[in-house]
C-alpha cells in the first residue's frame, strides 16, 4: 500500500506526516509524529487513554483514521502546558495526587480540559458523566473528580 501524505495542525504547529490509509490517528501520533503522550489501552474507544481534541471536539484518537486529520486542528496532551507553565488542571492533578500509575492521565487531562471549556462550572455528576469514557483502574476516580472541580473553581475565580 502506498503511504498517504497528510497535512494538519497539531498543538498549533503546522504538521505533515506519511501514513498507511488504514492507520488510526493514534498510530500516526505515536508513530511518525512521535507524540507518545496519547496511550493505547484498548484500541476500541473504550478506555479514553488516547483522548485528543479535533477542532475542539473530544475524541478517542484510536477511532479516527489518520488521513481524516487533513486540514483539521488537533490538540494532544503535549500541547496542554504553555512552555514551562502547566495548565491549571495539570497543576491540580499533581497537587491532589489525582494520578497513580499515570497511564490514564493524558486522556483524563485532555478530556477534563474539553469539559471545562464547555462548562466552567460542572457539578460532580457532570464531571463523572463527562469522564465516564476515560477508564482509570488505579485511583477510584475520587481525586480526579475533586481535582477537576477544584480547578474549575479556581479558574472561575481568576
Amino acid at each position: 500500500m502506498a503511504k498517504v501524505h497528510v497535512t494538519t495542525t497539531i498543538n498549533g504547529e503546522p504538521s505533515e506526516f506519511l501514513c498507511e490509509p488504514n492507520d488510526t490517528m493514534l498510530d500516526a501520533l505515536r508513530g511518525p509524529l512521535g507524540l507518545t503522550g496519547s496511550k493505547e489501552g484498548c484500541a476500541s474507544g473504550d478506555c479514553g487513554a488516547c483522548s485528543i481534541t479535533v477542532d475542539d471536539n473530544l475524541i478517542c484518537s484510536c477511532l479516527m483514521l489518520a488521513v481524516e486529520s487533513e486540514g483539521h486542528e488537533l490538540r494532544t496532551i503535549e500541547g496542554m502546558a504553555q512552555g514551562e507553565k502547566l495548565h491549571p488542571l495539570q497543576q491540580k492533578f499533581l497537587e491532589m495526587a489525582a494520578l497513580q500509575c499515570g497511564i490514564c492521565t493524558s486522556g483524563m487531562l485532555v478530556a477534563s480540559d474539553a469539559l471545562l471549556k464547555r462548562n466552567p462550572k460542572p457539578s460532580e455528576e457532570e464531571v463523572r458523566f463527562w469522564l465516564a469514557g476515560n477508564l482509570c483502574r488505579c485511583t477510584g476516580y475520587d481525586k480526579i473528580v475533586r481535582a477537576v472541580m477544584d480547578t474549575a473553581a479556581e479558574m472561575r475565580a481568576q
Binding site: A81, L94, A97, G102, C104, R146
Partner: protein, 754 residues
C-alpha cells in the same frame, strides 16, 4: 527503634518526583520506546481450550518476505516436569516455560504456540496465519465444579491427588484447636457456599517490551513490570542468557495490581531479537491481555461459623477451591491464610485447593486470594451477627484479633490496629447516617500479610549538594513520593532537592518485586539506612574541618552544627558546603544498603458500604463508601488514600459487574473493556478514607504496607449492603443487574421491599 513523630515532610502531600512527566505526556511507558532498525513481534495463539500439539510447521511463515525470525517452544529452555520444581520467587519455572509457550499441549484459548518477528506488525500477523499447527483437540474443562469431578478431562496426567491423576494440584491448610469440639460448643452455626468469577486486574497499559540482543549476547530489555529483576531472572532462565548479560530497564508501569509480576512477552522477544539480530518490539492488544494474561481465580467456597449466644465465635471451617488456570499456582495461601485472621477463633480449619482448568494461568491480583476468602467469611459473619441480633461491628469487636492473638497461619500478633479500624468505623458519621427506602448498609473487614524481602538503595550527594536516590522497585502508585519525603526528612532539606529514580538491573542491587504491599516498607528501610550512613559521613567531614570530635557534631536542618557551644563555636556547614568540599575531604559522598528486610506487620481494614437498588433495572449502586485502615504511618497521605480508593473501586467492580464469560467452546466471550465492564467514573461515589495510624514498631518510620488490604473487604461489604437493602442474600458474584433482577422479581422480595 524510635518512631519519629514531629516531621516536616513525612505525612505531607508533596508533589511526586515523576509527576511532571506524567501530566505532560513525557513519561515513557513500555510501548513508548523505539529503536533504530526495530522490527515487530507477534504471537500465534491457540484457538483451542485443550489440544495436544502434534507438529508445528513454520516454513511458510519463514518464507514470507519481511519475516526475520520465528520461535516455538523448541527455542525456550525446558524445565522437565519430572526433574522437580525450579522456583523463582513464587513461580515454578516448569510452569512458566509452559506458560510463555505451549510445549506438549495447548492449555487454553490464547496460549502462545509460536512467535514471529517481521519488519511490520502487519507482516508478523500475516506470518502467524501461515504457521501450520497439527492439533489433536482434547476435551476441556473450565469451571471448578467440573474440573474436580472424578471423570473430568485431566490437564496434567503427571499430577496426582490422593493417588489418582487429578486437576487438584495442591492443598494447604491452617489449623488451630479442634473444630469438631468447637462446633459442639456453639449455640448457632451457619454454613453457606459461595462462588466468585475470574476477574482481571484490568491495568490500562497492555504488556509491552522492546528488546535488543547484541551479537555477543548482551541484551537490553525495556519493559514495564512489577520487577525488573524478575524480568531479568525469568528471561535468563527461559533463554539461557546469563543474568549478567541482561540489562532490564524498567519503563514506567501503567498499572499492574499483581498482574505484572510474571513475564509473557520478554522471553519471546529476546529469542526473536537474538535470532533476527534486530531489536524487537512486542505490544499486546487488549484482547490478548484479556485472553492470555492472568486474571485472578474463579472460586467456590464453603464457610461454616459457630458462635455462642453471647457473641463469641467458637469454631470456624473454611474450604476454598480456587482456579489456577492452565498451570498450578492459585493463591490459596491468601484465601486460606487471610480470611479468618481478623478474628480470634479458638478452633479453626481453613483449607485451600488449587484447581487447574483450561483458562489462562492465574496471576496475582491485589492481596491474592484474600478477597475471595474474605467475601465468603465476612458474608457468613454478617448472618451470624444478625442471628445473634448483634450489631455487625460489635460482633467483630467482640471477636477481634489483637496483640497476643495467635493467627492460624502461624504468627502471634504484635501490637496491631484491627480493633482501631472497627472502632473508627463505628464512630464514623457514615455508620450513623440514616438510610432511605431500597437503601442498605453493609460492613466487612479484611487482612493481608504484607511483606518485607530484598531491597537495595543507593543514595548519592551530588556535587552541588542535592540528593539522588536510586532504588530497585518499579513505582506503581507513588512510592517515589514517599521515598523523597523520608530522605528529605532525614537530611533536613526541602524534598524538592531529592530526586528519586528507579535503577535498572545492572545499576542497582537486587530488589524483589513491587508486590505484596512491600515497596515503601522495604525500600524506606534501605533508604533510611543509606541516608543515616551519609549523615554519619557528613558529620565526620564537618568534624574534620572544625578539628573536633565527630561525636561533637550533630546534623540538623540540612547542616552540621556543633552539638553544643562547649563543642566549639562554628557556623553551620550545609549539605551544599560539604558537597563542595567533598573532593578535598575524602571524596564523593554516597551510601548504598542492600537488605532482606523483615518486620512487615500485617494490615487490617474495615469498610462501610451503602447501596441503593434500582428495582426496575436491577442495578445496585454504591452511594457512599468509607474505607478504614490501619496504615501504620501515612508517609504521603495522598497516595495512601489513593491505594484505599483504588482498591475499593476494584472491589466494587468485582462485586457488581466484572466477570469472565466463556463461550461454549471455552473462549473468553468478553475480552474487551466494553463487555468486561470495569467501574467508570459515573458508577462510583467519592470514596472516604479513615487512616488509622498504629505505627509499625519494627520500621524506622512506622510504615506498614497499604496497597492490598483495601480490596479484601469490599465484595462482602457490598453484598451485606445489598442484603440490607433488599432482605435477600446473594451467594454468587457478580451481583450484576440480571442476577439482582432475578431475585427482585421473586414475589417475596417485591413484597418485602414495598
Amino acid at each position: 527503634m524510635t518512631v519519629v513523630t514531629n516531621n516536616k515532610w513525612i505525612g505531607q502531600r508533596t508533589i511526586r518526583p515523576d509527576g511532571m512527566d506524567k501530566v505532560t505526556g513525557r513519561a515513557q511507558f513500555a510501548a513508548d520506546t523505539n529503536m533504530p532498525g526495530m522490527i515487530w513481534g507477534k504471537v500465534l495463539r491457540s484457538p483451542h481450550a485443550h489440544a495436544r500439539i502434534k507438529s508445528i510447521n513454520t516454513a511458510k511463515a519463514e518464507a514470507l518476505p519481511g519475516v526475520k525470525a520465528v520461535v516455538t517452544a523448541r527455542d525456550i529452555v525446558d524445565f522437565p516436569i519430572e526433574k522437580g520444581a525450579v522456583m523463582l520467587g513464587i513461580q515454578d519455572m516448569r510452569w512458566m516455560c509452559r506458560n510463555v509457550m505451549a510445549r506438549e499441549k495447548a492449555l487454553f484459548p490464547g496460549h502462545p504456540i509460536a512467535a514471529v518477528a517481521a519488519t511490520t506488525e502487519a507482516i508478523a500477523a500475516e506470518a502467524c496465519k501461515l504457521i501450520e499447527v497439527d492439533y489433536e483437540v482434547l476435551p476441556f474443562v473450565i469451571e471448578i465444579e467440573d474440573a474436580i469431578k472424578s471423570d473430568a478431562p485431566i490437564l496434567h496426567e503427571f499430577n496426582k491427588f490422593e493417588g489418582k491423576p487429578s486437576n487438584i494440584a495442591g492443598r494447604l491448610e491452617h489449623k488451630k484447636g479442634d473444630i469438631a469440639d468447637g462446633f459442639k460448643k456453639a449455640d448457632i452455626v451457619i454454613e453457606r457456599s459461595f462462588t466468585t468469577r475470574p476477574v482481571h486486574q484490568g491495568y490500562i497499559e497492555p504488556h509491552a517490551c522492546l528488546i535488543s540482543v547484541a551479537p555477543d549476547g548482551k541484551t537490553t530489555i525495556w519493559s514495564s513490570s512489577q520487577g525488573q529483576f524478575m524480568v531479568r531472572a525469568m528471561t535468563a532462565h527461559l533463554t539461557g542468557i546469563p543474568q549478567s548479560d541482561i540489562r532490564a530497564i524498567p519503563a514506567e508501569i501503567g498499572g499492574g495490581f499483581g498482574g505484572k509480576t510474571i513475564v509473557y512477552l520478554e522471553p519471546l522477544a529476546t529469542l526473536l531479537a537474538k535470532k533476527s539480530g534486530r531489536p524487537v518490539k512486542m505490544v499486546m492488544t487488549r484482547e490478548e491481555v484479556m485472553r492470555a494474561t492472568g486474571p485472578t481465580s474463579g472460586s467456590k467456597s464453603t464457610v461454616k461459623i459457630g458462635a455462642t449466644k453471647d457473641g463469641k465465635i467458637v469454631a470456624a471451617h473454611g474450604t476454598f477451591y480456587l482456579q489456577a488456570g492452565a498451570l498450578p499456582g492459585s493463591p490459596i495461601r491468601g484465601a486460606a491464610g487471610c480470611s479468618f485472621t481478623p478474628y480470634d477463633i479458638p478452633n479453626l480449619l481453613s483449607e485451600g485447593y488449587d484447581v487447574c482448568s483450561n483458562r489462562s494461568k492465574v496471576a496475582a491480583y491485589r492481596a491474592p486470594g484474600a478477597p475471595i476468602g474474605a467475601y465468603a467469611v465476612e458474608c457468613v459473619l454478617d448472618e451470624v451477627a444478625e442471628a445473634l441480633k448483634m450489631d455487625p461491628l460489635d460482633f467483630r469487636l467482640k471477636n477481634a484479633a489483637k496483640e497476643g492473638t495467635k493467627a492460624a497461619h502461624g504468627p502471634t500478633f504484635p501490637r496491631i490496629g484491627y480493633i482501631e479500624t472497627v472502632e473508627a468505623a463505628k464512630a464514623s458519621d457514615h455508620y450513623k447516617a440514616p438510610l432511605g427506602k431500597l437503601q442498605g448498609r453493609g460492613v466487612a473487614s479484611g487482612f493481608w500479610f504484607n511483606a518485607g524481602g530484598e531491597s537495595s538503595a543507593q543514595v548519592n550527594i551530588t556535587e552541588d549538594g542535592n540528593v539522588v536516590v536510586t532504588t530497585g522497585h518499579p513505582d506503581i502508585g507513588g512510592s517515589r513520593a514517599g521515598i523523597a519525603n523520608i530522605c528529605a526528612e532525614l537530611l533536613g532539606i526541602d524534598y524538592r532537592r531529592v530526586s528519586v529514580i528507579i535503577g535498572d538491573t545492572q545499576t542497582i542491587g537486587f530488589s524483589n518485586l513491587t508486590g505484596g504491599s512491600r515497596v515503601l516498607f522495604a525500600s524506606s528501610i534501605v533508604v533510611t539506612q543509606s541516608t543515616e550512613q551519609i549523615i554519619k559521613t557528613l558529620r565526620e567531614r564537618a568534624a574534620k574541618i572544625w578539628e573536633i570530635d565527630p561525636e561533637a557534631v550533630k546534623w540538623e536542618d540540612g547542616a552540621a552544627h556543633p552539638v553544643s557551644p562547649n563543642a566549639g563555636q562554628f557556623p553551620p556547614l550545609t549539605l551544599k558546603d560539604l558537597a563542595e568540599k567533598a573532593p578535598a575531604m575524602g571524596g564523593p559522598i554516597g551510601a548504598g544498603v542492600q537488605l532482606n528486610t523483615t518486620g512487615a506487620d500485617g494490615g487490617f481494614g474495615t469498610h462501610i458500604c451503602d447501596v441503593e437498588v434500582d428495582v426496575d433495572l436491577g442495578i445496585a449502586r454504591v452511594t457512599r463508601y468509607t474505607a478504614v485502615q490501619d496504615v501504620g504511618r501515612a508517609i504521603h497521605p495522598g497516595y495512601v488514600e489513593g491505594q484505599l480508593q483504588g482498591g475499593v473501586a476494584q472491589g466494587i467492580g468485582w462485586a457488581l459487574n466484572e466477570e469472565y464469560i466463556y463461550t461454549r467452546d471455552g473462549k473468553v466471550d468478553n475480552p474487551g473493556f466494553l463487555d468486561y465492564r470495569m467501574p467508570v467514573c459515573s458508577d462510583l461515589p467519592m470514596i472516604d478514607c479513615i487512616m488509622v495510624e498504629v505505627p509499625n514498631p519494627k520500621h524506622p518510620q512506622g510504615v506498614k504496607g497499604v496497597g492490598e488490604v483495601p480490596l479484601v473487604p469490599v465484595m462482602a461489604a457490598v453484598a451485606n449492603a445489598i442484603y440490607n437493602a433488599l432482605g435477600k442474600r446473594f451467594y454468587a458474584l457478580p451481583m450484576s443487574p440480571p442476577k439482582v433482577l432475578e431475585v427482585i422479581d421473586a414475589p417475596e422480595t417485591r413484597q418485602a421491599a414495598e
